[in-house]
């Protein structure tokens, strides 16, 4: 795991972009997250596994500052989001991209307006906005849908537009909430390829929530070949920039690399990944 290999004293410690320290959150007297602690380093992609209701999406919303924890500390890009007022969070969020579970595209805006939303809010000049929107949409291979409305797109296309909207401002961190949820296997692979491309081309740090094991393992075993413009298996078996975190009943029961995950002796984890 990146954190372990970097603390040997020979290399400077990689920068922590997201850190959860003993975070707890409950709704209606039911604890959803319990003493959650982990760190995400710069350039790393951490895949969050867990069954439905284990608190994965809540964890992403906490990282984004959309929810406040009952206790514990959350640091994002060196700032404590757990105690930050909403007005200051808006500034911080400009450096973070988020892809929501159901895409959450603005249904009254066109694809172009959706992707350009953040740039327009930042008063980016129209020519530059147009150029960056085209760039983001061509990244997800949807440049031909600019004038369409979200309702005119398929589920997979909407998810790709949501990715384009998240990456258009070149954020330092991206949070993916079940980006392949509810999609067919072929479309899911297309989406995962985009995430691998984003990770390897732009070196963006990411937290990715999923309940599809194969998505996480594709992330860990593949890299993006820019020359061939396609995803391919990693030479030595595992991409060290990808790690895994498993939640069970709101608690972190695993945080480590793909090798460590495969070698885990925990009965629940063995059953989960089998």
């Amino acid at each position: 795991m990146i954190g372990e290999t970097s603390t040997n004293g020979h290399h400077p410690s990689p920068e922590v972009v997201i850190e959860f320290r003993d975070v707890e959150l409950g709704f209606d007297q039911h604890l959803v997250l319990r003493e959650v602690s982990f760190r995400l380093f710069r350039g790393e992609t951490k895949v969050l596994f867990g069954v439905a209701g284990s608190g994965k999406s809540v964890l992403l919303k906490l990282a984004m500052g959309l929810l406040k924890p009952d206790s514990g500390t959350i640091m994002v890009l060196g700032q404590e989001v757990s105690s930050m007022p909403e007005a200051e969070l808006f500034e911080l969020r400009r450096n973070i991209g988020m892809v929501f579970q159901e895409s959450a595209l603005f249904d009254s805006l066109t694809v172009e307006e959706n992707v350009a939303f953040r740039l327009i809010e930042e008063h980016t000049p129209p020519d530059e906005t147009r150029h960056r929107v085209e760039e983001a949409l061509s990244f997800v291979e949807l440049q031909h849908t600019m004038q369409k409305f979200p309702s005119q797109l398929s589920g997979g296309m909407r998810r790709r537009v949501a990715i384009a909207r998240a990456i258009v401002s070149h954020p330092e961190v991206i949070l993916y909430d079940s980006p392949t949820g509810g999609l067919d296997p072929i479309t899911s692979t297309t989406i995962v390829e985009l995430l691998v491309k984003q990770r390897d081309v732009y070196q963006t740090s990411a937290l990715m929530v999923t309940h599809r094991l194969q998505d996480g393992f594709i992330m860990a075993t593949h890299r993006y070949n820019q020359e061939k413009q396609q995803m391919e298996p990693v030479d030595h078996g595992v991409n060290t920039n990808t790690s895994f975190l498993i939640l069970r009943d709101g608690k972190v029961i695993f945080d480590g690399s793909a090798h460590e995950l495969r070698g885990s002796t925990d009965e629940y984890i063995k059953e989960y990944i089998s």
Partner: protein
């Protein structure tokens, strides 16, 4: 729906009042903060103001005509049919114009806001907006609030005029009054206090319509069924609040102006 204990119910209601007060306070305070969404304000002004014009015009015309008919039958007993214009103008300008226009606009705008924002809430579009670094209060609530307040003021003036026109048509065609008789009677007794009373109400009612509509939209839970529930609640709450506040504002202004 779970049955709540009295203290839980009380806490829920107090929390709702607190949330509503915060939303109302922030939406007003945001007018002094950057960024300002002038484009969104104009879009909402068009939707709320121009969009409500046909129904407000029709309502004003109809109520004015009916008022003239109803009052004339009473006035006839005292041989004072010539005062029909005065009664129509007093009733329309001081009371019926602002209240009825507000109720009509509440039916269109408060429900529209609750359903639109409620749909955005349940499909995570509000969260997406926050995640994109934009304050939904500034982008969605403040333009709707100011558009409603401004447009309701002008819609009330239009409704008042249409009411007077409706009364005039009845007075001429059915009551045998002359144009001069009707308009002189309608205008002569009207004082600044009456006009002020009628035209100050839309500011309060517009505030109620927009903040209640947005509050119910933002607090929507439970998918499409929740959106429907929020829409109904917004309509009922805004109408009830308009009627309650109408009494207190009227009492206050009568106290201030003495009429």
């Amino acid at each position: 729906m779970p049955i709540l204990s009295p203290d839980e119910l009380a806490k829920e209601k107090v929390a709702a009042v607190q949330e509503y007060s915060l939303l109302a306070g922030h939406s007003v305070a945001n007018i002094f903060r950057q960024p300002r969404y002038l484009g969104d304000l104009l879009i909402q002004a068009d939707l709320i103001g121009v969009g409500s014009l046909p129904i407000v015009t029709l309502t004003g015309l109809s109520i004015g005509a009916v008022l003239a008919l109803q009052t004339s039958s009473t006035l006839q007993q005292f041989g004072s049919v010539s005062l029909t214009g005065q009664l129509v103008s007093f009733s329309m300008i001081k009371e019926i114009g602002p209240v009825l226009t507000s109720l009509m606009v509440a039916g269109r705008a408060a429900t529209g806001m609750a359903s639109e924002l409620g749909s955005m809430k349940v499909t995570e579009q509000i969260d997406a907006m926050r995640a994109l670094g934009t304050d939904p209060m500034k982008k969605l609530v403040t333009p709707r609030l100011f558009a409603t307040v401004i447009m309701l003021f002008f819609l009330t003036i239009i409704a008042d005029f249409m009411g007077l026109l409706g009364g005039y048509i009845v007075a001429i065609t059915l009551l045998g009054l002359t144009t001069q008789q009707y308009w002189t009677s309608a205008y002569q007794q009207l004082q600044f206090a009456d006009v002020f009373q009628g035209l100050s109400k839309p500011f309060f009612f517009g505030f109620i319509i927009a903040t209640v509509g947005c509050y119910y939209g933002f607090s929507t839970k439970g998918g499409t069924q929740g959106v429907g529930r929020s829409t109904t609640q917004a309509m009922v709450a805004s109408s009830v609040l308009i009627l309650i506040f109408d009494f207190f504002i009227t009492r206050l202004l009568i106290g201030v102006f003495g009429r």
